[in-house]
Symmetry: C2
Subunit: 143 residues, 2 copies
Amino acid sequence: MESKEMPAVGGVLETSIYVDDLDRAIEFYGRVLGVSHMTLGDRGASFDFGPGSVLLIWRRGASARDNEDYPGGMIPGHDGSGPLHLAFKIPTDTYDAWKERLERLGIAVRSEVRWARGGRSLYFDDPEGHVLELATPGVWPNY
Amino acid sequence: MESKEMPAVGGVLETSIYVDDLDRAIEFYGRVLGVSHMTLGDRGASFDFGPGSVLLIWRRGASARDNEDYPGGMIPGHDGSGPLHLAFKIPTDTYDAWKERLERLGIAVRSEVRWARGGRSLYFDDPEGHVLELATPGVWPNY
C-alpha cells in the first residue's frame, strides 16, 4: 500500500470468458448454475452472480474491436482464447448437494480438492472447455 | 431458477489472467491497484482483492497441464491468450482520485465511460494488454 491518499479498490466486479456458441453457454450456465443474463446483445451477455458480481460471456471475436457506438464513451476491445479458469462461491453445507446436482445433470466432476485451509472444491468443464470450480470457504486467506 | 432444492451459487471467487512476465505483473498490480499477492509459486500468483475476491495471475503455459502434485486432489489445467477483460469496483467518490492517480503513475487512461444507469468507468491496460476497468456503482442492475 502507498500513502494515505491511496483510493481504495474494491473486489473484482466483472470477469470475462469467450465462447463460440453463446446460446449454448446461456443454456448451460442457466441450467447448471441457475443464473440468468441481465443483458444480451450482438457482442455477448452479462450474468448476475449476486450483488456486485458479473460474468461476461462474449461471442468469440465480437468484442475484439473498440466499440465506438455507445453514447457514453468508447468501450475498449478485448478477446481471448484457450480454456480459462474461474471459480464461484458456494456455502460449505451445500457441497454435497452441488455434487449430486452436477451428477444428476450429467456434468462430469473432473476433480474434487480438499485445501489445506479446510475448503473444498468441485471442478467441472463448461461446454467450451472453460474450467469451472465451485469452492467453499477455506480455500484462501480471504475466503 | 429450478426447484426449491437448488443449492445457492454465490459470486465469482476467482478470475484468471495469463501473463508472459509474472514479476512485472506483480509490480504493476501492486503499484497501481495497491494489492499484494497471497501466494506466489511456479505456476502463478494469487492476489487479494478483499473478502471473497481473488485474481489469479498465471505464468503463460505454466498452468496448462493438470496438476497432480497437490496432496488434496488433482487441480485441472487451463491456459489462455489474448487481451482479456476484467473490472474492479471503486466507490463513486474516489473516481476523480483514481483518474488522477493513474495519470500521476503514467498509466494512460484509454477511455472514460458514463453508463446509462449513472455509473462511470475508467479503462486502462496492464503491461500485457489486458483491458482493466475501474467502475463505480451504477453500471449494472446488480451494482
